[in-house]
């Protein structure tokens, strides 16, 4: 049985039409808007493809920092992430992850990993040294 095109495929295909056919034929202000739409579509497509894998990895990294479980049930993921990030923010603000502390290199590494993944979703060209 053939799969009918899924969400990611639809977004990709529609975006391609927008960029290659529609945008070039529009006056400057409308072209700029069309390219913004195309950008929104590709970010949405990446989020669809990634699912909650990045957040699972974020949860595990924070779990390692604080000696907490490395996995939770999907319906608890968001709430647990918020809690752990709040914990981390308080620790950072209180100076508990300052240079010279045991936490410092682990927090630095965890944050780099988590935020690199966020950039990969919102603007992967940035990681190539492009805007």
């Amino acid at each position: 049985m053939r799969e009918i095109p899924n969400a990611a495929d639809l977004l990709d295909t529609a975006r391609e039409l927008l960029r290659s056919e529609l945008a070039p034929s529009l006056p400057p202000e409308q072209r700029h808007q069309a390219l913004m739409i195309a950008n929104a579509m590709v970010i949405a497509r990446r989020q669809l493809e990634d699912g909650d894998a990045p957040e699972q990895r974020e949860l595990a990294a924070l779990g390692e920092l604080f000696g907490l479980p490395l996995e939770v049930a999907p319906e608890q993921l968001q709430a647990e992430l918020t809690q752990r990030n709040l914990l981390l923010c308080r620790a950072i603000r209180a100076g508990q992850a300052d240079p010279g502390t045991v936490l410092h290199p682990a927090v630095q590494a965890a944050l780099r990993m988590v935020y690199r993944a966020k950039v990969a979703q919102s603007n992967p060209r940035y990681l190539e040294g492009q805007p």
């Binding site: 739409i37 918020t82 990030n85 709040l86 630095q108 780099r112 966020k118």
Partner: protein, 337 residues
Amino acid sequence: MDTSKRDALAGFITREAGARQVTVTHCERLSGGAIQENWRIQGSIDGGPHDGAFDYVLRTDAPSGVGGSHSRAEEFALLQAAFARGVTVPEPLWLCTDSTVLGRPFCLMRRAAGSAAGHLLVKDGKLGGDRKQLAWRLGCELARIHSIAPAPGQLAFLPHGDGAPALRLVRRYRNWLDTQPLPRPALEWGLRWLERNAPEGGKEVLCHRDYRTGNYLVDGDGLTAILDWEFAGWSDPLEDIGWFCAKCWRFGANEREAGGIGEREDFYRGYEEESGASLPRAQVHYWEVMAHMSWAIIALQQAARHSSGEERSLMLALTGHKVPELEFEILDMTAEA
């Protein structure tokens, strides 16, 4: 702009310009920020010291205002102070605080020629004249802005803060983050670094506080006007230097570290030659970190306006997606062994 408003405007100009008669021939809405409405107004003045054709820009508030930026009267006062000091700004002409004329306060300034588009300027080498000269000039103008000494009471609406400007900003950003539902550890990390490494407060100067590529006009020969004074205020002069040179404001031309248009040393040299003092170069990195932090906070606030429903806008929504790269950059810039 409807006929009755044009007539009201013509009447206003007639009175202010001491003219016999004023004809408004052309009104054109200019694309601008979300905070203001800008119009190009053309026509002719008959009699009085401004006799002849005119080409003005009218600035008024958009219906949806944004907190934290100045009123039209305040912005007008800033332009006057800058113009009087010899800073290259559009010449401020008249301020109208009487809402019966156009329904909202507005000001009129002489229109400066040129284009501000940052992404075009960094790509098109024909715009803006010689880039070495432009970088130097922008440094020179900034030093002049920082030398503005208002007369007693002249810019009294600008608050002086307590303690070091850097720490004031850290406090302000922490307070704002505390009002938000979701925690942002990369920004907390950056704020802790900014707190621990804060320079002591020194002499505060009048800072532009949005001095960057995109906020000045250039033509084929060079700089024609410095714009967007709505965030100006007293601060550490390096706040402006850091904002101008920050990687996030180079529009992708990362190797041209001064605003994506030129070399740092040309920009610094222009500043130093005008100010007569040398810039503490070692401190600039701190303020570039601060620049990324400030822009991240502003971008989050803009995204929040969309998400809250206050102003649904694709532009605001996508601005939220700039935040991860700013956070990533902050982590990179503050990495310590």
